[in-house]
């Protein structure tokens, strides 16, 4: 299977570990990702809040570029990109006035968007197209004993629940189980990570980060698994600050793709595991090789 791939700014910057783990994992499963040539900002961040139409136009350029490549589908791993690209597509179909602006702006740079490209999240592709069975077959180091709190954040199922339940998404739960991990029931799975509040109203942001980490800790999770670079950053970067206010809640937050990489036995240094502030130290049993077996018996 082949898809166009929209990394967005995060996966090239702060969320580099997401791309670093996503690419080898997808390749390992036979999913070919072709990075969009000359992509631009998806339109998320503050843009959406300031001028929705302009944000949609930005997104539309990416969608138009994807269409031009002839690929029917565009993978957007970052939750924010995924939402904005989807939103632009919905607006394109639902609001003729916005469509007109998009058409006009794209025409000025010789592009055209027909509204067809499907925007896909990696979780969606993994569950719907690749299938859990195919994932299971690639697992060589089952994540036995690792307790994971699945954390989806707010954007991938809201407001558009394209591939999972809006209130209780379970795609990642199923995936983690397929990897052999123990999924901790985590009722805060779609609760806000604090978003940009951690920067603008830190007191409120820190409290939200604390709530998420503390609940995962209370439920015995060894780590949180996330699908969003902003969530990962918020839950990873402020431990010292949170600890000074509420006491330590040391639970690492990793991308679900990093856990997949571990379970698939991909080289650890390729998975970006060292990029987080709070690192996941836990490792699955190594792949049994004839040599290691001898070593054990000896």
């Amino acid at each position: 299977m082949k898809l166009a791939y929209f990394p967005g700014c995060s996966l090239k910057g702060l969320g580099r570990a997401y791309e670093e783990s996503l690419l080898p994992v997808m390749k390992h499963l036979g999913v070919e990702l072709v990075e969009l040539d000359d992509w631009n900002c998806c339109g998320a961040t503050a843009y959406m809040a300031v001028d929705e139409v302009k944000a949609c136009v930005l997104a539309a350029r990416n969608l138009a570029l994807a269409e031009k490549t002839g690929q029917q589908q565009l993978m957007a791993p970052c939750a924010a990109c995924y939402l904005v690209l989807n939103k632009a597509k919905h607006y394109f179909h639902d609001y003729p006035a916005i469509k007109k602006t998009m058409d006009h702006a794209l025409a000025a740079i010789g592009l055209k968007y027909d509204g067809d490209t499907a925007v896909r999240h990696p979780l969606d592709v993994l569950l719907t197209d690749v299938g859990l069975e195919a994932v299971r077959q690639k697992v060589v180091r089952p994540l036995k004993g690792l307790k994971v709190a699945p954390y989806y954040g707010c954007q991938i199922v809201r407001p558009y629940a394209t591939f999972d339940d809006q209130y209780n998404p379970t795609a990642m739960d199923k995936l983690l189980e397929a990897l052999g991990a123990t999924v901790v029931r985590y009722p805060l799975k779609t609760k806000c990570c604090g978003g940009s509040l951690t920067g603008t109203v830190p007191a409120a942001g820190m409290r939200m980060v604390y709530i998420l980490l503390n609940e995962a800790r209370k439920r015995g999770a060894d780590c949180l698994a996330t699908v969003c670079p902003l969530c990962q950053f918020n839950l990873d970067a402020y431990h010292a600050k949170v600890a000074s206010q509420y006491g330590p809640v040391r639970v690492p937050t990793v991308y679900f793709t990093q856990l997949m990489g571990l379970a698939f036995g991909l080289p650890e240094k390729e998975l970006g595991l060292n990029r987080s502030a709070i690192r996941l130290d836990w490792r699955p049993e190594p792949v049994p090789t004839p040599a290691s077996k001898e070593a054990v018996t000896a």
Binding site: D165, Q166, Y167, N168, P187, L188, I211, E215
Partner: protein, 669 residues
Amino acid sequence: MPEPRNGVRIGFYVCHCGHNIASMVDCPAVAAYAATLPNVAVSRDYKYLCSDPGQELIKRDIAELGLSHVVVASCSPLLHEHTFRSATEAGGLNPYCFHMVNIREHDSWVHTDRRLATEKAKALARAGIRRVAHHQPLEMKRVPIHPDVLVVGGGIAGIHAALTLASAGKKVYLVEREPSIGGHMAKFDKTFPTLDCAACILTPKMSAVRSHPNITLWSYSEVVKTDGYVGNYTVTVRRKPRYVIEELCVGCQECIDSCVYKKPMFPDEFNEGLGKRKPIHIPFPQATPQVVLIDPEVCLNFKRGVLTDKCKKTCVEACAERKAIDFNQKEELKEIKVGTIIVATGFQPFDVKRVPQYGYGTYPNVYTALEAERLVNASGPTSGEVVLRDGRHPNAIAIIHCVGSRDRKTNRWCSRVCCMYSMKLAHLLKEHSGAEVYNFYIDIRAPGKGYEEFYDKLNEEGVHFIRGRVGEVTDWAMTPEEEGKLVIRVEDTLAGFVRRIPVDMVVLSTGLEPHSDAQSVRRMFNMSCGTEGFFLERHPKLAPVNTYTDGVFIAGCCQGPRDIPDTVAQAGAAAAEAMALIDRGHIDQEPNTARILADCSGCKSCIPLCPYTAIAFDSATQKAVINEALCKGCGTCVGSCPSGSIIQNLFDDEEVFGEIQGVLADEPN
């Protein structure tokens, strides 16, 4: 313009319908235009033609001006065709020398450009006038009505309708899908707002059904086929095997005591799975009929529903010489003839799995309203003691209103009874457990006799009312007091902030929705469904228990959510409508039947096409003949006849082409 037809003198009348038509159609202009058309002897506009003076006008013109035909341009024929046909007849003409043109639903109500709407009205008038010139006098057909009635569904609606009809001397077949009649009401402890005991008012009616000589009760049965038409329906009913011979079982239940399963082990449907039953069981103590049944899915004498005969059959021993148990019982098909049908199949509660944010299935102490009904019920699984699934007694209880209702993501409608039953449950739960009870509501809807007063009473009893749609039920605790509790997260829209309220038990007040098989039931009885899926009444105000199929009526929650008082009223109305038909003894049928012309070649191709088997072959004349009593005027044979030898009254070629040419004619107007 066509040549005027000799002897045809048409009266044309256009109705203003107050502003309904006149605001979008220039009625005087339409009348003036019609006056110029061939054969039109008089053309008038009038404010309300359906009024007495309006009808008088038509009658007088017929007499004074010697009219031969009448056309009225007004509303839908569904509403007033009968009125104007009667007026035409009263004026001395055959009622079928009349034609009605719809310029309201088809014109004024759906257009916004007055000039174009007026042009359209003129074209429709022209079509009607050209058509009616060919109308011939016809006679109504009379067919007798079968006096027996079928009632489908034995909830309070079906029970009440059946008893009303039976006490008026009509024979009734009551077909209920479950092993017992009673419907949802049988599961309630008390009923709002009077808090009278549901069983005390329902069970006498249930046993009256059982003992009434005019009622044939078939429980555990379903209608599988309906043929025919008003007055003459043939219905096939499937009686499912209960593996117990109904006529022989006396309901002593000794078989249940002696079943090889010493303890009840299987989820009990009547108690919403909160209690347990044995493979051989009776749904509840007052079940009607008082007949046990065997569940072949779990009975040891079967394996996955297939008879194995491997059990000791202690139940058969216990039944002894009564010999009521019959493991070889098969389903039975019964064919009955009835004249009218009342559909009273009720509702199904909204499936709470569709709102995972409320934690049903995740948190054991989250209950549906029906489960809560069973918990507070003296004959329920806990004898009315409020014991939670984890064995605890609740100190605080949350009742969440509008679950699945008033929500674009699930069902948009208000389910009408949930506010009231939530308050009833609040009262009962508080009474039975002493717990603090919180109601979370969007709006309190208590419009009914004594309903608002009931709400006041609850406020006085100290039940809490918090206005806001609950966001989620969670076990995520933020304070020590919340540990181990279910936390309700809700925006209190009166106080203006988000609250967290820890409780021990949550009741989800699920809305009412159409049965999942409503579509197949709809097809079975040739009814329609509204957009939500409830059965559609013929008119929301004026024909609330009629359907678009004559002789088929609806009552109770299958038509839309309602409480017991309204259900009973509607069931009575449906019974009265059925009786009105039956007591007339016959029905008049439109004479729009087909007839065969003398040049029929006898090819027989029409015979197998007729859906009503109304066409036979006469070997003496070598021609097809149509039985007028059976013909429904569908026109299938007319269209298919290769030699054009079949004609349908009111739809012959001259009439239909006259109308088409009229509407398409490009005449100066």
